[in-house]
């Protein structure tokens, strides 16, 4: 299972980098979404996958060796929520940008550098 997820992480990073290098701002944002998902999966995978075990057993539990590590799950939940908030902001920014400048082309951004 881990190997499949690891490959998925790789594929998502590849797709993300490819999209980041496109000229359209919307595609750039899609690239960030891909990379953000890949990173979340990476964090989730970091403790290994334990199938079918609960993350919490309560205080009376005696065996702790079959416990799934709860920490990466908590981390991923936090990261997903933060990622969602940022995604909403950047989409709103993109919309505002489009309505002010009427362009979706990253090459048009050059002029602030002059």
């Amino acid at each position: 299972m881990e190997i499949i997820l690891a490959i998925l992480v790789g594929v998502q990073y590849t797709a993300g980098v490819y999209m980041l290098l496109r000229r359209s701002i919307l595609k750039f944002i899609i690239g960030i979404i891909f990379m953000s998902n890949a990173t979340n999966l990476l964090v989730f995978l970091s403790a290994g996958i334990t199938s079918g075990s609960p993350a919490f057993l309560g205080e009376s539990a005696e065996r702790t060796d079959e416990l799934a590590d709860p920490l990466p799950q908590a981390l991923v939940l936090t990261a997903v929520v933060i990622g969602l908030g940022i995604l909403v902001f950047i989409l709103a920014l993109k919309f505002k940008f489009f309505s002010v400048t009427g362009t979706d082309d990253l090459d048009q951004l050059k002029s602030t550098e002059e």
């Binding site: 960030i32 990379m35 964090v43 920490l71 936090t78 933060i82 902001f89 950047i90 920014l93």
Partner: protein, 497 residues
């Protein structure tokens, strides 16, 4: 209950309060008084740490490696103090420079959420918690940088947001790998585990991810492109706020990580840090000398100065780290002040372009004085703070036989001096260009406009005059960083890994 969480809780409370307050006048008062309160807290924490040592708070009573730990050691308390000072002066500056009645309340809300993120990043003792504070800080800065929604601001905003988001992804990926290898994210616990790590090279993949993430935030050499692309677009108040604080959080995180637990493969990392530091200094300095617009010159100049801080970390002796900490403090104050004065020049002359301004020395000697303090401090003229900061770093470089980087640092000092003299000559000494209309209404500069610059200028002078006590304190902070035994033991409280 101790006061450790207050630098986070007070801005949070002020933020909530400001959301309710709609009036511009009230929100300005709240902003200034709230910043004063934060300064008082920072002074209290600073003196407490100075007297009794490290302050710890285990959030929610969860013992160390399991819960989130907040730690204030000497470095953190110093950063909190300087941050609070900058926040106060900028909250005063914003009264006159965020003129729009609708924008003022919004500005102060995100001003305090930025403050919360920065303070949180300085005092947390947990890697993932640091990520969360970075995100708080970034989201507020995203809003601030695109506030106003003009064409230029949105262009700068998109670049800023995009490149910083990529930095956050590196950070998160680094956390994932680090947790996979060590099974903990508490900094003190990590330090304890990695102290005796024998396969040191294994940690390099995580360390490199963190290095890139913090490098993007700190704007070091190959990763700085977002900074000059966006810092000149927003309101000058916001630029000053960012210039003094944001990049330094990245440098702080680098120092914390590479002194506390990424200490395995030292030869590789210190050489890398020194090469990056040298390139950052030179390229920032050269780029700054090619522009004729105050905000752009100062923006590139931020990058150049980041190089000195990284140089202190790369040399890695107590003296060098003390120099780096001194330099960070000096730079935060002087750089913010330089931006504030460039805002004043713009108010007086109506332009940031050096070709369009001139003759300010005759018109306003006060403004000239206000400019010359941070400019000379940045250039390293004695007896101002910058001279001692550079002197310590260069002395440390010579003592550690790192002659290459020391030479680069000295040459960059000349480039800095050149940039500052350029602003001085063009804006203050040169006559006003002929084609500029002379009967333009002269803007009266009020006391409130110059008060923040006066405060920061005074601090710069004091840091130079009282260099010995400041240096002694930074030296203690540096010793605390290089010998993290007390830090680890206070956090873990005797728990074995």
């Amino acid at each position: 209950m101790n006061a450790v969480a207050l630098p986070i809780l007070i801005p949070l409370a002020l933020m909530v309060l400001l959301i309710v307050i709609r009036s511009a006048l009230l929100s300005r008062w709240t902003g200034v008084l709230g910043s004063m309160l934060m300064l008082v807290i920072a002074i209290y924490l600073f003196s407490h740490v100075n007297e009794y040592g490290i302050l710890i708070l285990q959030v929610g009573e969860w013992a160390a490696p399991f819960g989130i730990t907040l730690v204030i050691d000497r470095l953190s308390s110093l950063m909190l103090l300087v941050t609070a000072l900058l926040l106060l002066s900028i909250s005063i500056y914003a009264i006159r420079f965020i003129g729009d009645k609708k924008e003022a309340p919004v500005f102060y809300i995100f001003f305090f959420s930025l403050a919360m993120g920065i303070n949180g990043a300085f005092i947390t003792g947990d890697v993932f918690n640091l990520y969360v504070w970075f995100e708080v800080m970034l989201l507020s800065s995203f809003v601030l940088i695109s506030m106003g929604s003009t064409r230029e601001q949105l262009k700068g905003g998109i670049k800023y947001v995009g490149l910083n988001l990529i930095g956050s992804l590196f950070f998160l990926a680094g956390i994932g790998l680090l947790y996979g290898k060590t099974g903990t994210l508490n900094m003190a616990h990590l330090a304890k585990i990695l102290q005796y790590d024998e396969q040191s090279i294994l940690m390099n993949s995580s360390a490199m991810l963190f290095f890139i993430a913090f490098g993007i935030k700190a704007a070091i050499f190959p990763l700085y492109f977002w900074l000059p692309a966006s810092y000149h677009t927003p309101n000058i108040t916001i630029t000053s706020l960012f210039a003094g604080l944001l990049t330094k959080v990245g440098v702080y995180a680098l120092i914390r990580f590479f002194t506390l637990f990424f200490v395995q493969d030292q030869v590789f990392w210190h050489n890398l840090l020194l090469v990056v530091a040298g390139l950052t200094m030179v390229i920032g300095g050269i780029a700054a000398s090619t522009y004729y617009e105050t905000r752009r010159i100062l923006s590139y100049h931020i990058i150049s100065q980041i190089g000195y801080m990284v140089m202190g970390l790369g040399i890695y002796t107590p003296l060098a780290l003390a120099g780096a900490i001194y330099f960070i403090m000096h730079n935060m104050v002087a750089k913010t002040n330089a931006f504030l004065v460039s805002g004043l020049i713009n108010r007086f002359m109506g332009s940031y372009r050096l070709k369009e301004v001139g003759g300010l020395y005759r018109q306003s000697p006060l403004l000239a004085l206000l400019f010359i303090i941070p400019a000379f401090a940045l250039a390293g003229v004695p007896p101002l703070s910058g001279f001692f900061a550079k002197f310590i770093l260069i002395k440390a470089g010579i003592e550690a036989s790192r002659f290459g980087i020391t030479a680069v640092a000295l040459i960059t000092g000349l480039l800095t001096l050149y940039s500052m003299i350029k602003i001085w000559n063009e804006a203050f000494l040169k006559k006003l260009p002929e084609n500029q209309e002379k009967d333009s209404p002269v803007v009266r500069i009020r006391f409130l406009d110059v008060l923040p610059s006066l405060i920061l200028g005074l601090v710069t002078i004091l840091m130079g005059v009282f260099a010995a006590p400041v240096f002694r304190y930074t030296m203690e902070a540096a010793n605390g960083l290089l010998d993290p035994f007390i830090y680890i033991e206070s956090v873990l409280n005797g728990i074995q890994p």
